[in-house]
C-alpha cells in the first residue's frame, strides 16, 4: 500500500491513461530550489496536496482537469502561480523572487 508520504520528486512519472499531471520546477535566479514546500490548492483556494521539491527543483501532482493554484514556501522566499490543467502532463514553472 502506498502511503501519503513524500514520493521522490526526481523520478520520471508513470502517466496512466486519463491521468492529469501537474509538474514543473521551482527556481531562483536561474538555479533550481530544492527542499521547497510546493502546495497545490484548488480553484476555491482549498489546500489539496503538498510535496517537497527535489534536488533539481522538481515537483509533481496527480490532480484532475481544472483550475489550480500553486504556492511554494522556502527559507529563500515565497511564490505562487496558477494553472489550468487538462488530461495529460501540464507544466508549471515557479520562480522565487
Amino acid at each position: 500500500m502506498t502511503s501519503c508520504g513524500a514520493p521522490d520528486q526526481s523520478l520520471p512519472a508513470v502517466v496512466a491513461a486519463g491521468a492529469t499531471l501537474i509538474e514543473g520546477t521551482i527556481s531562483q535566479a536561474g538555479s533550481p530550489v530544492s527542499g521547497a514546500y510546493v502546495r497545490l490548492h484548488d480553484a476555491t483556494g482549498e489546500f489539496t496536496a503538498e510535496v517537497v521539491s527535489s534536488p533539481e527543483g522538481s515537483f509533481r501532482f496527480y490532480a484532475a482537469p481544472g483550475a489550480w493554484e500553486l504556492r511554494a514556501l522556502s527559507p529563500k522566499g515565497y511564490t505562487r502561480g496558477e494553472i489550468t490543467a487538462a488530461v495529460g502532463v501540464n507544466r508549471a514553472e515557479l520562480v522565487l523572487s
Binding site: 502506498t2 502511503s3 501519503c4 508520504g5 513524500a6 514546500y37 476555491t44 489546500f47 496536496a49 496527480y62
Partner: protein
C-alpha cells in the same frame, strides 16, 4: 488536556534538545528526510516498517511495540517529543499510536519538520543511538480507535469527520494529489460524514491554528460537540492530525481515529457510500 501539555514550539524544542528525560523522535513515511538531516539528537521511527505489521494490515502488537521502543532506547518515564514531515501527519499519527499503547507523556512540535526547515534551524546528519531500555506498553486503548463496524453503525448517529480534501470527499479523486490514483475500489465518503479537511486546522507553515480558530472551524462545519466523534481519511494519518486537534487541543470527549479509513471503507462490499453530484 491543554495545548501547552501536548504541543511545544520549535523554539522550545531547540532550547530543550539535550534536556534529560526528553526523547526527540522524527516520524516519517520516507525516512530519507531524517537521514539527510534531523533535529540534533533525534531518533527516527519509520511509519511503515516500524509501526505496521509486516504481513497483515494492522499495527505491531504490544510485544512488538515494547521491543521497538526498548531497542530505540525509550523509557516509560521519558517524555517523547514527536515531529515529522507532511505537516506532522505521521508525527500526529505516532502521537495517537503512543497514546493507544498508553505512553504517559507525549508532545508534538508545532509545525514539525517544515517549520523547523523554514526557520533555517540546525539539522544534523549524525547517527543517533540510545542505550536500550526495557519498555512496558499497555494494552491498546480502544476508546481512541474505531473499526469499520462501528463506523457503519455510526452513520447518522455520531459525528463522522472526513478530513480528506474536498475532491477526495466528493469522490472525484481517490487519493491525495501528489500520489497516483490507485487506492480504494470506490470514491466518495461515508454517508452523514462532514468534510473538514485536516489542512484547515493548520497554517501554511504547518503550525496549528489557535484554539479559537479551531473551535470556530469545527463549529461552522457542523460538528455536534455533544456527540462522540470518529475521524477518518485515507489510511488514518491525516485523521490522526484532526484527532489531535479535536481531542488534545480542543478537549473534545470521545474522539476516535478510524485507521482503516477510506482505503478499507471504500473497498468494503455492501456498505453505503455517498458521492457528490458533479
Amino acid at each position: 488536556m491543554a495545548r501547552n501539555d501536548v504541543l511545544v514550539s520549535a523554539d522550545w524544542a531547540e532550547t530543550n534538545l539535550t534536556a534529560p528525560g526528553l526523547v526527540f523522535v522524527e516520524v516519517d513515511e520516507d525516512t530519507s528526510a531524517y537521514d539527510k538531516g534531523h533535529l540534533p539528537g533525534a531518533i527516527k521511527l519509520d511509519w511503515k516498517t516500524d509501526l505496521q505489521d509486516p504481513v497483515r494490515r494492522d499495527f505491531v502488537n504490544k510485544e512488538q511495540f515494547e521491543a521497538l521502543l526498548s531497542a530505540k532506547g525509550i523509557s516509560n518515564d521519558d517524555t517523547v517529543v514527536l515531529y515529522g514531515g507532511n505537516n506532522n501527519w505521521f508525527a500526529a499519527y505516532a502521537f495517537w499510536y503512543f497514546t493507544l499503547y498508553g505512553h504517559t507523556s507525549v508532545k508534538l512540535i508545532d509545525g514539525g519538520r517544515k517549520k523547523w526547515e523554514l526557520d533555517s534551524r540546525t539539522l544534523s546528519d549524525e547517527t543517533v543511538t540510545r542505550p536500550a531500555t526495557t519498555y512496558v506498553a499497555q494494552d491498546q486503548d480502544l476508546s481512541i480507535r474505531a473499526f469499520r463496524d462501528e463506523v457503519v453503525a455510526s452513520i447518522g448517529e455520531k459525528n463522522l469527520v472526513d478530513v480528506r480534501s474536498p475532491e477526495e470527499f466528493a469522490g472525484t479523486i481517490l487519493g491525495p494529489a501528489h500520489l497516483p490514483q490507485e487506492h480504494a475500489q470506490k470514491g466518495g465518503h461515508v454517508p452523514s460524514a462532514i468534510n473538514i479537511p485536516w489542512s484547515k486546522a493548520a497554517n501554511d507553515d504547518g503550525t496549528f491554528k489557535s484554539d479559537d480558530e479551531l473551535a470556530a472551524l469545527y463549529g461552522a462545519a457542523g460538528l455536534d460537540t455533544s456527540k462522540p466523534t470518529i475521524a477518518y481519511c485515507r489510511i488514518g494519518e491525516r485523521s490522526s492530525h484532526s484527532w489531535f486537534v479535536l481531542s488534545q487541543l480542543l478537549g473534545q470527549a470521545d474522539v476516535k481515529n478510524y485507521d482503516g479509513s477510506w482505503v478499507e471503507y471504500g473497498s468494503l462490499v455492501g456498505v453505503p457510500i455517498e458521492v457528490d453530484a458533479k
